[in-house]
Symmetry: C2
Subunit: 272 residues, 2 copies
């Protein structure tokens, strides 16, 4: 039987469950890790949540998500930086070693300008990240999110920014959903390896057809992504961390989450 110690599930994947229920279910399924989304942190706060997760035998893999730095308005850019500093404090309290950045984009300005603001935002929060021992991962997003979610849409761009800023606390996250189509993917994953900055690996699948731009991700194996191929590239680049299942799906959120979790484990065994 395939070992599940490197399987990690994002809280948003089983969004209908409160954190405590997800912790219990993931642990019962022998899943190794959990990535916590900000909206899943219960009232008890991140420190208690972290203790709860570890007490169940799960590892806190990362905290999702910071970013959204670009704004046409300077005050909003400062507010975004402040919010990212708060997210770093929460990540540290949770015991998460990594904060994932969905970098943002502002439709009222060029993508170049948004990228300058992303760089400035990352540079502004990097000292706090280092002081707290929490690393940052730039997650390139699919080009269909270039309007409002991210001006960084290829792994090449994420690599270039990480290399330009250059810190052991800054790397990239590879999500097969965003990057599978890119003819440069193998090469750019290898480039992450050379720079030792591949910090996270997210899996799901691209449904054919995809019925919604945001919330119709597929379970591994039900779409057209060659996940095993990408996993091999990632491992050839030296990555030995968790395989994180991150699925936003109205379809799956509407079903019994216990049954869905069983399907996730099965799909992981067969397709990752």
């Amino acid at each position: 039987m395939k070992d599940l110690s490197r399987l990690c599930v994002h809280t948003i994947t089983t969004r209908p469950w409160p954190l405590a229920r997800a912790v219990e279910a993931f642990a019962d399924a022998s899943i190794g890790g959990m990535t916590v989304w900000r909206d899943a942190v219960p009232e008890e706060g991140p420190q208690q949540a972290g203790e709860r997760i570890r007490a169940a035998g799960l590892e806190v893999v990362s905290y999702c998500r910071g970013g959204f730095f670009p704004h046409t308005d300077a005050q909003k850019r400062q507010a975004a930086i402040d919010d990212n500093l708060a997210a770093l404090d929460e990540a540290a309290a949770l015991g998460a070693p990594l904060l994932v950045l969905v970098c943002g984009a502002a439709p009222g300005q060029s993508l170049e300008r948004s990228r300058q603001q992303i760089r400035a935002g990352i540079e502004a929060i990097l000292p706090r990240a280092q002081a707290l021992g929490v690393r940052l991962a730039i997650e390139p997003l699919h080009p269909m999110y270039a309007d409002t979610r991210s001006a960084i849409n290829t792994l090449r761009q994420a690599n270039e920014m990480a290399e330009a800023i250059k810190s052991p606390y800054l790397g990239v996250a590879v999500d097969v959903y965003h990057l599978w189509w890119d003819p440069e993917l193998e090469h750019q994953i290898a480039r992450c390896g050379e720079n030792a900055h591949l910090f996270a690996f997210h899996v799901c699948d691209w449904r054919v057809p995809t019925r919604d731009l945001l919330n119709d991700r597929g379970l591994m194996g039900e779409g057209c992504i060659n996940i095993r191929q990408i996993r091999k590239w990632v491992e050839d680049a030296g990555f030995d961390g968790f395989h994180e299942v991150e699925i936003f799906s109205m379809h799956y959120w509407n079903m019994d989450q216990a049954i869905f979790l069983k399907q996730i484990v099965q799909a992981y065994k067969e397709h990752v």
Copy 2:
């Protein structure tokens, strides 16, 4: 007042109108050209349709669309080639100087394999294109269509294929909707210019938010694409052809097409 002699509208943009109605309306609006979609060719056939368009004072700009070469099944690949040969004959009868290729993708195989089949398909139809005097344009499609519509998702890929096959009858089509997000776009458009193979320029806009993956394109100016910037790059590359308005939109198809056409003309004047 801005000259409309280089404005072209695709029949699919005003899809509810039969060809004869569209011809009359475009001519009344002093629009210079029309791109004819295959499903818009009336029973009278492509030759009569072409004569009708020219008699109204409009130029036939291109014929949409060929392509869809990749299939896991060899018989289907041959059927696709045969269908493209028929499309070339129709384009010639219509008097269209260009057939636009939406190249296709087959989810059961790798994108690399699909690209090999696209190349084989183009090479199979190129002699007929040349004999008929109809040029072919590879249209790179947005990465969100990499599952079933095109394994060619960036202008770099289209340029590479056009340069590899190399024929005065093969070039590329630049559509702002598919390419606006690409950080390499300016450079790749200039590269088209060096090879004199930029054959078509399509405009519309990317709505924020976009509500549907296929049929929610925006009118120029209502989204986040800097169309004027891309137009400048295209013209700097030596392109002096039509600006083709290609909008798939349930929203606009559901409204009075005469009012919509007035909005198209206005949006063209203000934003292209």
